[in-house]
Homo-oligomer: 304 residues x 3
């Protein structure tokens, strides 16, 4: 990555940076299977102020496959940052003395950036507030490239909660580096913020908004589903109405291209019917494994 030592936002990366990460990921496929000792003795601190299964365990699996070690917390209640009122800056200035890289998830926007400003060791953003989840975007790009053979020229529909979902924000920004066609399909109150749409258009992407999942799944290479969170709706009846309309069912898959792929950052609740899992288009569990691969690449590029 050369000049890059942190990964806070997709927007800090150039297209070259991203391509380097994706190329390095491809090299990691065999290392992931054979395991390696290239990061032996190195320490990754995982500071998870918000719960996570996937992202934390995925980073840990990546670090272990490279021979490195892990410390940290999965639950802020067990740390001084929880009970004793320590500031994030102080927590970072402490943990930087214990490890070689910090992986942080925090519920506040800007938290990962703040952490990087105070840290002398590299910081990787594993999800900050509702704004960013850059390693998810990288694994999404890698999944697309691996499944479709390329990113430039593909068409993709982003579906579900495009307003609060931090994964689609980061993915939207990441796609801006590539010549892709984007359809956005969200319920009325959960549309992608105009600022992000503008940025995608400014970057040369063809972006259209559609109203239904039916329109979204047709004639695209990638259908990217996201979870619609009940707690976003003041009135539960609004949620029920929306949730039903943005649920991917077996008949929707029937309308998709034969070689289209369905991705989802997971966890999935109701937004994809279990019957869909068995279709050849369903690739969201393969996508999980690509998260290990991409994070191995990042750890090699930052620590190796």
């Amino acid at each position: 990555m050369g000049r890059l030592r942190n990964l806070i936002s997709i927007q800090d990366l150039t297209r070259e940076d991203i391509d380097l990460i994706l190329d390095t990921s491809a090299k990691m496929e065999s290392v992931a299977v054979k395991r390696s000792k290239e990061l032996e003795g190195k320490i990754m601190a995982t500071l998870f102020f918000e719960p996570s299964t996937r992202t934390r365990l995925s980073f840990e699996s990546a670090m272990i496959r490279l021979g490195g070690s892990i410390l940290g917390f999965a639950d802020v209640a067990t740390s001084s940052a929880g009970g004793k009122g320590e500031t994030l800056a102080d927590t970072i200035r402490t943990v930087e003395r214990y490890a070689d890289v910090i992986v942080i998830r925090h519920n506040l926007d800007g938290s990962a950036r703040l952490a990087a400003e105070f840290s002398r060791i590299p910081v990787i953003n594993a999800g900050s507030g509702s704004e960013e989840h850059p390693t998810q975007a990288l694994l999404d790009l890698y999944s697309i490239r691996k499944l479709k053979g390329k990113i430039d020229g593909i068409s993709i529909s982003l579906c579900g909660d495009l307003k609060y979902g931090r994964t689609v924000h980061s993915l939207g920004m990441a796609l801006s580096y590539y010549g892709v066609t984007v359809k956005l399909a969200a319920p009325p109150g959960l549309r992608m913020k105009p600022a992000i749409i503008d940025e995608m258009k400014k970057a040369g992407l063809r972006v259209t908004e559609v109203d239904t999942l039916e329109e979204a799944v047709k004639d695209v290479d990638v259908v990217y589903m996201t979870r619609i969170q009940k707690e976003r709706f003041p009135d539960v009846r609004d949620y029920d109405a929306v949730q039903g309309k943005f649920r991917l069912r077996l008949q929707d898959v029937g309308m998709m291209r034969q070689d289209a792929v369905i991705l989802h950052p997971l966890p999935r609740v109701d937004e994809i019917e279990p019957e869909v899992d068995k279709t050849p288009q369903a690739k969201y569990f393969d996508q999980v494994y690509n998260g290990v691969i991409t994070r191995m690449a990042l750890l090699r590029l930052i620590l190796g």
Copy 2:
């Protein structure tokens, strides 16, 4: 184990399987002390949906002694399976991409079986609902063989909560492979389910039920105590009555054979007086160490 890749229920194992596990355990005694690197690079995921000290740390100690690494969660609240409503099937289809073996404890009956059905990597049941705890049964058998030199031909009393205690269910089933004599001693409401007794008898075991701890401890090689859980009793006075009668005291040990041994899956609360700990019959803390040994054997047989 040959054809076995998971360990979900003792009933999935043949007598030959069990003997192989016990023989392998005996070989592990020296490896446990010296430590080994035979599972270097291998990853064990520990998914504990229910709290545990012993089982989780015992598996971790076993994996470390074989040179392997660990990831997972000890607290479901820190995982997506907690807060975000992910199904167990989805959690398993995720974690199987991160690890080489899954060790799962879950509060629901059938959970470990379900996990194994969805997983492409081996699954070990570390306690499912109130039905099964097969690795506990294996370490119990190994403890008996190590302490008494054999399993066939011994006599054993199972005492305490035989209705809800998952360890005695698994142990009862495990003993069915051997020619042993079993006394069952439980308070009225906590008797062993007739189905399990029938199965033991069908397997050729001599099974009798007794009413008091006094009858239970006499003339047997092994006294297997279990915890009676207060929360099983609607009326706390019933608990108090029962608890007093099924408490192993120093005078009870006096009525035991000189060479008898007392086992307990632990944790122990009130059901064994602390004074008993110092008697030569008390072997429940040695039993703890046998858990490490047996789990090392399992990990070698599954991953090695």
Copy 3:
């Protein structure tokens, strides 16, 4: 350490023991950077019955840098000692079968001593009740020696909550082995217990008590700040009054010697203004790293 196998109280150590730990710490500086495999295969159990970031992660970082492995719990709720009512003695007699050394933090006075009495493997006290935190005292001594070149002959002010703060109790006792001058500066209700002051005087230390932070920071080599915990005050107004008076501000640093150093066991809440962090006297984050160094020395001396 020779005859020492546990570290429960600073008072169990001789001056020679402490000097050996500090000398070994100095040797660890380069090992901490390069990493080592000298404790490969060894297992450290971290039993944290109370939350902690610093102490737990610092021990883990130390163990990893020496090539060792870690198991344990950071949250008592996930262990049998939490939900199932197991005694500490039983938890220890269990965990000693899983590891080579136990590091324990517990909210009760005497808990670490009790653990050591029941354990067959070495026990290190990582904070017991409000009485002791010996590894903090050792890292404080090491920080002083590293920053000031010596301990004998220095002058130090202990400031803040000297009544409940376990770190200052252990540090006060540790300083008793050295010829130092001590100023104690605490709010009225939070003064150092007379018994500890007497012991320090009996050991030959010059001890004076002062009423204000202003008096405390002048003419000393080391200003040792501690957190004043709101929950110690029945009336929150009393806390507010005290807290303002015992807050280290930039102007206080102006009154300090040019070569004086400010230490703090952290976490810090309000008792040091963030502006102070940038002064050359502020050494509390360097002190954090010395915790890793000192704990590496302890682990080598106990396990190596």
